[in-house]
Structure formats: C-alpha cells, structure tokens
Amino acid sequence: MIHLAGPYLLAAVLAGLGTYGVLARRNAVLVLIGIELVLNAANVLLVATSAAGGDRWVAGNVLALFVITIAAAEVSVALAVVLAVFRLRGDIDLSRGHEDDGAAS
C-alpha cells in the first residue's frame, strides 16, 4: 500500500527545480541539467500512475522507457550543438547576445 501524494509532490518539485535551472543558468550545459530534471519529473509521474494499477499495456513503464530514450537522443544532439557553438564563439554563455559577438572578435 502506498499513498500517491508522495510521487505527485516529488514530480511537481522536480519540474519546478528544472524550470528554475533552465531559466537561471548561463552555461548551456547547465541548462541541459535543468531539462533532465523536468524529464525525470514526467517519468516519476508515469511510473507512479503505473504503480497505482489499472494500467492495461504496462503503458506507464513503457512510456517512461521511451522518455529515457528520447532524453538520450536529445542530450547527444544538444551537446553536439553546444560543442559547435563553443568552437565558433569560444564560450557557451547564453546571456551573451549576438551583437556582442562582433565586438569580441
């Protein structure tokens, strides 16, 4: 027997933390960490719903696996873009605007 309030609260807290991480970071790789936290909040919800029963095709667990796969694909492309930006600009500071680029080079 388990109360579902715990998983739901954890999912809400993780989504809020992830949103804060995405908005408050200047380093592009640290923004990705916030995105991972939001994706994990979704996974906690899916698994909690699956654990409550009434889940016909084990959909909660399978969809959680799909989310993990998509997160892996997303992070590999995002890190390739981050590395490309670093090679072109010399840093990955997201708060530096495009107009600063000309002044720096």
């Binding site: 954890l10 809400a12 408050a24 991972e36 996974n43 654990a51």
Partner: protein, 195 residues
C-alpha cells in the same frame, strides 16, 4: 504511513535536495555530480514504486551515459574548476526564475490535488520485467522501432552538426587569413603616403 511511503519519502527527499543543489551550485562540475545523486535516488524511487526495469534503465542510461556525456561536454568547453559566479544569471533574473519555478510547482500541485485529496492508499502493482518485455515487443513494437530510428537520426545529426561547425571554422580561418594579407599589403602604402 506505510513502510513503502517511508521508503519513498526517504529517497524522494534525497532526489529533490540533490536536484536543488545541482541547479543552484556555483561549481559546474559539482552540478553534474549532484545530478548523478538525484538521478540515482530517482532510480530508488522507481524501485519503491515497483518498476524494477525502469530503475535499471535509469541507472544504465541516465547515470551511466547521459551524465557522462554532460561531464564530457563540461570538460571539452573548459569548464572552470572551483566556484564561479559566471554560471548563473544576475540576482533579479534568478529571483524571477525562482518565482516561475515555484509557480510551476504550485500549478502542478494544484492539478494533482483533486487526485490525491482524501484518496486512500493504493495497492502497489509491481511490473515484472517479463510482462514489460511482452508488452514492449507486442503492443508497443512500432513505437519502439520508430524510437530506434530516432536514435539513428540523432546520431547522424550530432555527427553532422559537429562536422558543419568544423567546416564553418575552417572557412572563418581562411577569411581571417585573407584579411591579414590585406592588412599586410595596405601597411606599406599607408607608410608611404605621409612621406
């Protein structure tokens, strides 16, 4: 409060606290390492919720692969070791971000409140790996195949992006070389003119 509730609360508090540390720490490498703690304890949450295979995949893919990729990117972008003010935005920006994050949490809590309000504890249904595999390769086989295609596309795209950046860098270098040549040619004429 059942024993499962207590176990979930223990790992859930660790997950939330290390998640908080990973988005607030000033040391970039520590952020990735706190993410390891957070994702590992989330795997514990999945175990408590009876999803053993999801917990294993979480450890293998998230902690084993994604965090290693993030650390790799931090090292390749010459992340500074030690505390660094530059990783976070200004104070007002952070306060706004915190307000928005708290708003997201409050919104989700309000959305879930009717689901758990006065709801009795549910009987936990364990998902065994055999049943999961049967569904994954039966009901969900086409989404599964499409996902393998997605992974292939992501792999090719990552390779293409990194090659494109290298080509653009080469073009920029050659432009800079030409600009340098132009300066070298202009220099003598400017010297000659005043004389």
């Amino acid at each position: 409060m059942t024993s499962l509730d207590v176990a979930f609360a223990a790992v859930g508090v660790i997950a939330a606290a290390s998640g908080l540390l990973s988005v607030t720490t000033r040391q970039v490498v520590h952020a990735a390492l706190w993410l390891v703690v957070s994702l590992g304890s989330l795997a514990g949450c999945y175990l408590v919720l009876g999803a053993e295979f999801v917990a294993l995949v979480q450890v293998l893919v998230y902690v084993g692969a994604i965090v290693v990729l993030v650390l790799f990117a931090l090292m390749l972008t010459r992340a500074p070791i030690g505390p660094n003010r530059e990783v976070s935005t200004s104070r007002t920006h952070r306060v706004l971000a915190a307000v928005l994050g708290a708003g997201v949490t409050a919104l989700l809590c309000a959305a879930f409140w009717p689901l758990v309000h006065h709801a009795p504890p549910v009987r936990r249904v364990e998902t065994h790996t055999g049943a999961l595999a049967e569904q994954l390769f039966g009901t969900w086989v086409w989404p599964f195949e499409v996902l393998s295609l997605l992974l292939l596309v992501a792999l090719v795209a990552a390779l293409a992006v990194s090659r494109m950046a290298r080509a653009a860098e080469g073009a920029e270098d050659s432009v800079l070389d030409h600009a340098g040549d132009g300066d070298a040619v202009d220099q003598p004429t400017q010297d000659v003119e005043p004389a």
